[in-house]
Every structure is written in structure tokens, then in C-alpha cells.
Amino acid sequence: MKRLFRGARVIDPASGVDGFVDVLVDGDRIAQVGRDLPVAGVEVIELSRDHVVCPGLIDIHVHLREPGQEHKETVASGVASAVAGGFTAVACMPNTTPVNDNANVTAYILGKAAAANLARVYPIGAVSRGSKGELLADIAELHHAGCVAITDDGHPTATALLLRRAMEYAGMFGMPVIEHCEDSSLKGDGVAHEGFTAASLGLRGIPGACEALGVERGVLMAELTGGAFHVAHMSARASIRAVRKAKEAGIRVTCEVAPHHFTLTDESLQSPIPYDTNTKMNPPLREAADRDAMLAGIADGTVDLIATDHAPHHYDEKNVEFDRAPFGIVGLETAVPLAVTQLVHAGHISLHKLVELMAVGPAKLLKLPGGTLREGAPADITILAPDMPVRIQASRLRSRSKNTPFDGWELRGGVVATIVGGRTVYVNDAATVALS
């Protein structure tokens, strides 16, 4: 079956297309992109000039929580959340119970993903067995089972030596090591960014240097090994500086920033709701200078991609004293409105650049099929409406957890539809598009 999408702006940075052209899908593949494609024997989907057709968005930093923490999220609820957020693929973190440190767990996750049959799921394996930081996980086995990268996310890789070995070993399979950058001694039992807000609220601080030290360590190991080093969820201005310098020196380092770190500052811990545990994440919300450094890094190309660090937690776990609450917020369904509003409408980057950050960059880092609308590519497509008014409603999220600090936010930029392998897996009720 062939389907033709026409009438919308098509942005495909990988092939240099940006204009009002048609996209022809044949089965699960992109057949052709061009002007005035023939419509005979083709189902035609008329889109509006306010719509943007782009390669399916990919979120490489998602906690799907299954196996073991199904009260927070399952693979099925996670991918439902993903497609509602415009993501056609997600890469999921290994800090499940048990940890994804062997092929059985990887296969289990992929089985659940196949059954859910919504977004594509690419598991990320652990660096070390049980993510305990002692012995390497079975990295070859993980790779062959379908893992696309390794990380001990949730914590930094225990030692510089282990990080070095991981980079060397994972390099055999072309997999990057994704690092939760943090110096454990500087983090201590901190729960908030170390600054005036934490001092006012009496919360134990985590300085930006805590993260930057982890970045510097990884950069040095990448230089030493020639391995690919990816900095997860970057938050501190000193980290951006470290990545920028490393890139200038030709070291293989990439980095991501989460929407909450380019949108919020630690002032959100104080108002509108003091000690709101939905403002508690690791790395923490930092001060304005850090947030502005994230925006600058996104604009100048230091930042390679946007990833959400989607971290679902049950409301019981968050309805506690601030210092006892777990770190993290859900992000899949708020990423597009936040990114379009805070980055594009605010004038920091173009929509074209946003597609690079949310589709092209992630696909390139993890060598995934997708990230382009070139002929023969998988028909993974996201249709956006950059000017659509969006009101975030926590209670309406598809994710099993509702832990977001953005409840009630009025934003501009929504998802019209999500198409995976030529199949429409999500259509926004608010959009008037005839899609099945």
C-alpha cells in the first residue's frame, strides 16, 4: 500500500530537504520525496501548510522500568507515551530489576516491545555486571542481543579504569559508552543544585563541578582509548565548556541535554510549589547561568542531541519529603512542546536544527536506521504542528507515571501524528487530520 503525504513543510536535514514537497511511503519504507508526485493508486493524506513532516524523533535516554519496576512504567506504557510524544524510537536504560547486563534481559525487553508494537525500542546494556562497577557485563552478548550502547546510568561508571576498559571493549562493536557524569564524593548526599536556592531551602547541594569532573574524566578516557564517549543529561556550564574544548581537540565526545535543563532553573524548587518533588532530578535543575549555557551550547552545535531522561516514578514515591524522594521526571510527552517553545519560538534555533537534534543526532550516535526520509529509509515519520497551542495535563499523560513539573503549562508546538514503519501509531485528537 502506498501513501502520499502532501501539503506540509518537509524537513529532512540528512538529505538537505526543507520545503513544501510530497513524501511517498510504500509499505514500511520511504519510497520518494519530491514535488508533485503522482497520485494514481495512492492514498493521499492532505496536510496543512502549518504542519511539518520530519523523520521520526528518537529519544535515546528513556527509563522504561521493565523488568522489575512495573508500578512506575512498563515497556508497553512507555512506548505508548513515546508515540504520543512524537517519538518513533526510544533507547532504554539498563537500570531495571534485574539490570540489563545480559542477553536474557535484553531479549525480554525486546519481546515486550514487539508485543506493544508502537515505538521501536533499542535497549542499552550495562557497563558492569549488575551495574555494580566491578566486572564488565557481557558486552558482546549484549550487542548481539540488540543493545546499541552501554552505560551504568543512574550512577557514574565506578572507576576511571572501568570506564577506560568499557570504551576500549565496546569500541569493538562500534558502541558508545554513555556516561552519567558525576563525582560521587562531590555529590555526597546532595539533593539540589548547590546555590542560593538550596541554601535558602536548607537542601544539601550538588555543585556543577560534580558533573563537570565526570565529563573531564570521560573526555580523558576517550582521548586515551579513542573510544566514543557520550555525556548523558548535561546540566552544568562547566560541562558544556569541557565538551566544547574536547571537540575542538578532536576527541570523540558527544553530549545531550534534557528539556528540563534548557527550560527550568533551581528557582522552581521554591515556587510555585515549595519543595515540589517533581523538581527533583539528577543532575539537578541548576541556576540561570547554567540553563543559559545549555541554550548557548544547543545553538552553537556543542550539544549533539536532545534526550528526555524520561524517569517515571509512582506518585507514592514522590509524595514524600524532598530529600527522600527519588530523582527524575517523565519527559516523553512534554519534550516536543518544550523544545519548540523554548528553543524555536524563543529564537535560539530553527525548526530545521531542532529536527537535527531530535532525529538526526540520536540516529547518528547509536547508528540506528531512521533519522532521515531518504528513499529506502524506514517510514518512521513524525508530523508536527509548531504553532499548535498545547496545555500540559499530567493526568492525561500516557505514561503510567505523572511526575512532571510542567502540569498546567501552556506551550506552543504539538505532535499531529506519529508513524512507525509506515503504520500510524498515534494521531492527536486535537489535530484535524484524516489518518488511519
Partner: protein, 327 residues
Amino acid sequence: MSAPASPQAEAPVVATALRHKDLLGIADLTPGEISLVLDTAEAMKEIGARPIKKVPALRGKTVVNLFFEPSTRTRTSFEIAEKRLSADTLSIAIASSSVVKGESLVDTALNLEAMNPDMIVLRHASSGACHLLSRVCKSAIINAGDGTHEHPTQALLDAFTIRERKKTLAGLKVAIIGDLLHSRVLRSNILLLTKMGAEVWVCGPPTLIPTDIRRFGVQSTSRVDEAVADADVVMLLRIQLERMEGAYFPSLREYFTVFGMTEARLKLAKPDVLIMHPGPMNRGVEIASEVADGPYSVILDQVHNGVAVRMAVLYLLAGGVEHEETV
């Protein structure tokens, strides 16, 4: 959260009640409201001097003292204050609570709430615990110390004690010396004293000074002589032994050598300086016994005044004069 607009637009706002559901911190109080508490406490202090130390102001009100941290002084002070106002009062300490069975703070509070108390006085090790309770409880929440955040009634009783001796807070130099980082007493005192126009100096080892402390509107130094020079009030904060393990300073002995308040150091202060300490004291660490027991010390006055100040807070939160015409 602010006081209601005065009918006389230009006149200073004279508060007659605390128009707050809770007392979560000094941060929420206006200078007018602080003065109201201190003025009311003067009347309450007189009650404590009577042969029959009891008035019916809170008769029929139920007050729960919910203490998740050990406390002798503050809990006793609240209990006495509640009883002098004729409230029905009970105290729950952590050891006897169901928290040991794994119940969450919110569930504990909701269960208490189901028995319809009027006020909950909360002491908890987590900063912001009172804010959490305030969101889930209809009862008035009084913060009796939350983590390293605030201890508002301590700051109010400190202010009362200073005002009693110095008549005013405005223009006084107050030096606060000790573990600034982990002190809720410090935060409440800084907020209160700066709101009331005092000049606040804070002093301690750089390892125990919170980030951006100057943004609170205080002077910060690690030179104790500079902090004490010409001070009207010197307030010492407790140094906890476990801080040595966090490598904040090498030893208690060295702490005393560098920061301990001795008679010699005190000579730099004003001749009528007041020595204060929120307790419990480490004699020979942050304060020499000669200073704690000496003529400038008002440390026991602080404890004495604590009852009157807490009576004032309880009374005003319950509605003050709007609720009860006479004390």
C-alpha cells in the same frame, strides 16, 4: 501570604492577627507580623509569672506535637505553652510512632488529621517537611524545626530576648558564629533580623558557610574577631561532632582555638553585649564555660522566653483577638 492592606493606606501596617493557616517559616512573615508576635508574647510572659499560670484561650482546641527528631527543649516548651493556654495536647515521638513500621509522613499526618486536631507542631529531619504537611492537612502546621531549613519559633524567641534587653532590633550588630551550613536556627534568625533592620554578621569555617550567603543580606567572614568587633549580640551555634567526619574541620580542639567564644575574644564586643545560644551547648567547643555562665549570657532567658513566644504563636494562629477577646 502577606498581611492585609491597612485601611489607612500610608500608615504603617499594624497586624492584629497572623492571617496564615500555618507558621512554616520566618520567610512568610512581614515585619508587622513579627512585631505582633513579640508584643503578644509580652502579655503571655506575664501569665507565666502568675500563681495560676493558665488562661482559657485555646480551651477545646487539640494540639498534636509530632516530633520525628529528639528534642527536649523545644518539645517541652511547646507542651508548657499549650497547657498554659488550656489546649488539649499530646506529643508523639518517633520511637512510639508507626514510622518505624514504614508508614509515610503523609499517611501519618492524614491519620492524625482524621481525628480532627486543630494544630500540628512538627519537628522533622527533612527540610520542607512542614510544607508537605501543609499541603495535605487542614490543621494549622507549626514548624518546630525542619531539617536545615527553618526553626521560626527559635528566631522569634531570640528576637524577643534581644528586644527585651535592647528595646529594639533595628541597628544592632548581631554576630552569629558556628556551623552555618547545617543550622535551621541560622536561616530563621537571618530572615528575622534582617527584616527587622539589624546588621547581621555570620562567621564560621569556610567549609560550613552556605553558598551565596551574602545574598541573604548579611556580612560573612571567617575572621571571628571581625564578626565580634563592636557586636551588640553574639549568638553561638552548636558544632556537631559528626561534622569532623565530613572533613569540615580537623578537630573540636582546633575549632575552639579558632572560633570558640572566650572571655578574651568577647572584649572586642560592646560592653553590654548579649551572649546567646539556642542549645544544646558544647561547652569548650563553640563557647567557653566562663562565657556561657558569665554576666553577658542570656542563654537561660532564651529558654524562659520560649514558652511565652510559643504561647503567642499558638494564640495568634488560632485567631488571636478576632477569636478571643481577652487572654
